[in-house]
């Protein structure tokens, strides 16, 4: 540990594992910049044209993801959306109201070209939105994002709630696994037929939910005991990099997104 600031007779500075230096141009961006990029990608995928927006966003995500070495994780996230996008594609292809341009007819089923096209557009939008948010998550530690937003004036309580909620997910999964093991040890049948598994849901869910609720009061007290409600502005432990260029970029992206929405609503954007 290097020395830098004086405390009593000791000089200390933040250790390397707290500073967590980032590598690569995209990962090194300020969290707010990455968040804005993600939001603008979501907006663009949603409002710009039928194909142009989502395809453009997917292209950008693919390039950035490749440079940030998160392509594999993005593919995993993409695969997780398959059940949803698959059902959207099927429903629209076969059941789009008013569509008459049948691709073929198989008994009562008549998939249509316009249904397929619409389904693909929705699918691409959904995929682009999912991957845009995933890219922000994969390249930005949630702690960094929250610290940065708090430093920009977002309320301490809101920041904590978001951070704690995100971090609660793995803990809840672990707790559920522990309770599942405990219930199995007491003879609960959690495998086999559907109804057998369904009967096991309540003995599993109830302890998870009630246990979490019980802990809330103690957690609240523990937070109070650690001066969470102090009026002072919370110390930013490690300021995150920012620059005039990034500020300019954020404003440009924001204004561009507003212009795109306005243009689309006014019918000025005539993109395919």
């Amino acid at each position: 540990m290097t020395a830098d600031g004086e405390i009593g007779t000791r000089r200390s500075t933040l250790p390397e594992y707290v500073l967590r230096p980032t590598s690569g141009p995209y990962r090194s961006l300020n969290p707010a910049t990455k968040l804005i990029i993600g939001i603008v990608e979501v907006v663009a995928a949603f409002v710009v044209g039928h194909w142009t927006g989502p395809l453009l966003v997917l292209l950008v995500i693919a390039l950035v993801g490749w440079r940030a070495h998160v392509t594999r994780q993005l593919l995993l996230v993409g695969s997780l959306t398959l059940p949803v996008v698959g059902s959207i594609l099927l429903i629209n292809t076969f059941l789009l109201p008013g569509a008459t341009d049948a691709i073929l007819r198989v008994g009562p089923l008549a998939p249509t070209w316009s249904g397929l096209a619409f389904g693909l557009q929705v699918t691409l939008r959904l995929l682009a939105i999912s991957l845009a948010l995933a890219l922000v998550y994969l390249t930005t530690p949630i702690d960094d994002l929250l610290s940065d937003l708090e430093a920009r004036g977002l309320g301490r309580r809101l920041v904590f709630v978001v951070g704690a909620a995100v971090n609660t997910v793995p803990r809840t999964i672990e707790r559920a696994a522990e309770i599942l093991d405990a219930q199995r040890a007491r003879g609960l049948d959690t495998e086999g037929r559907f109804w057998q598994r369904a009967r096991g849901v309540l003995p599993l869910a109830a302890p998870v939910i009630f246990g979490a609720l019980t802990e809330v009061e103690e957690q609240t007290m523990a937070l109070e005991a650690r001066a969470f409600s102090a009026p002072a502005r919370r110390t930013v432990l490690r300021p995150l990099p920012d620059s005039a260029a990034q500020r300019l970029l954020r404003w440009a992206l924001f204004l561009g997104a507003v212009a795109a929405v306005a243009g689309e609503m006014a019918g000025l954007l005539r993109l395919p």
Partner: protein
């Protein structure tokens, strides 16, 4: 200058009866007061009341007086109380913020809330880590700690706020014998060398025998016995109250029962503390 409960009677919101009944206790700087008693005696409630969290944070009705260095806890805001009286609960996992990536940042959570400069935060965190001998845990993810490690981290997180008094509700409940001894030694040194007053609820009477200056027995909300540690832990009534005396006391009784006697010095509990000193960062040692 004390942490003092005077005629403290407390009832939880919506509860039909009082949990604490006219409790009189005081913790003086540099001294350790052990609190023992059977289950449901009101020990954890007493911790909440002594630390000011009850009724400030959880409601309920408090009668009598609870003061920290002469100031009524009811007149202090939670963050002001946190700097005067730290509190540690039994379950360590509920005491971690759940937002820190490393143990170092977990310890920094409290000082950051106070808006302290980064240098001072770093000093406090390092001091708390060193005091409990857990510097090696600093880079670890708090969510991946064992129960004992999490308990030590939770305690260190409280220490980082540098409270004048500590209220500890079974701080060694999840620790193995070595961890228990480590915490006992650290707390005893903390009290002796920095003047921190400590109220500790503990079922392990062996630990209290080595570190507490005084012990009080709580039963059904009443303080039924209080005095010097050796005297209270040797009380023949202790077992009947649901508290197991230390092994030395039990051995002495067993020997007495068969008409044997040993040199009392052989059965005396070893003193704790040992080598090493605690330098409180920014305070130059003891508290004024």
């Amino acid at each position: 200058m004390t942490l003092s409960l005077s005629g403290a009677t407390y009832r939880y919101a919506g509860a039909p009866r009082d949990v604490l009944l006219g409790v009189d206790l005081s913790v003086t700087p540099g001294r350790v007061l052990g609190l023992i008693g059977p289950n449901e005696a009101g020990k954890s409630t007493l911790c909440l009341v002594a630390s000011g969290l009850a009724p400030a944070s959880i409601g309920g009705r408090l009668q009598g007086s609870v003061t920290v260095d002469g100031v009524e806890t009811r007149s202090l805001k939670p963050h002001e109380l946190a700097q005067r009286c730290g509190v540690l609960f039994q379950n360590p996992t509920t005491q971690l913020s759940g937002t820190a990536v490393t143990v170092f940042e977990e310890l920094a959570f409290g000082p950051r809330n106070l808006g302290l400069p980064v240098d001072e935060i770093v000093g406090r965190v390092e001091w708390a880590l060193d005091t409990l001998g857990i510097a090696a845990l600093a880079p670890k993810d708090p969510a991946r700690l064992s129960g004992g490690q999490a308990q030590l981290v939770a305690l260190a997180s409280v220490l980082a706020l540098r409270p004048a008094y500590l209220v500890l509700d079974e701080p060694t409940s999840q620790l193995d014998p070595q961890g228990t001894r480590l915490v006992g030694d650290a707390l005893a040194r903390l009290a002796g060398e920095t003047g921190t007053g400590i109220l500790i609820v503990e079922h392990k009477t062996e630990l209290l025998a080595t570190m507490a200056d005084e012990v009080a027995v709580l039963d059904a909300g009443h303080v039924v016995a209080a005095g010097p540690t050796a005297q209270v832990l040797a009380d023949p009534e202790l077992l009947a109250r649901g508290v197991e005396p230390p092994a030395a006391v039990r051995l002495r009784r067993a020997l007495d029962a068969v008409g044997l006697s040993l040199d009392p010095a052989l059965l005396a509990e070893p003193s704790v503390g040992g080598a090493g000193t605690i330098d409180r960062p920014g305070s130059g040692g003891g508290r004024a």
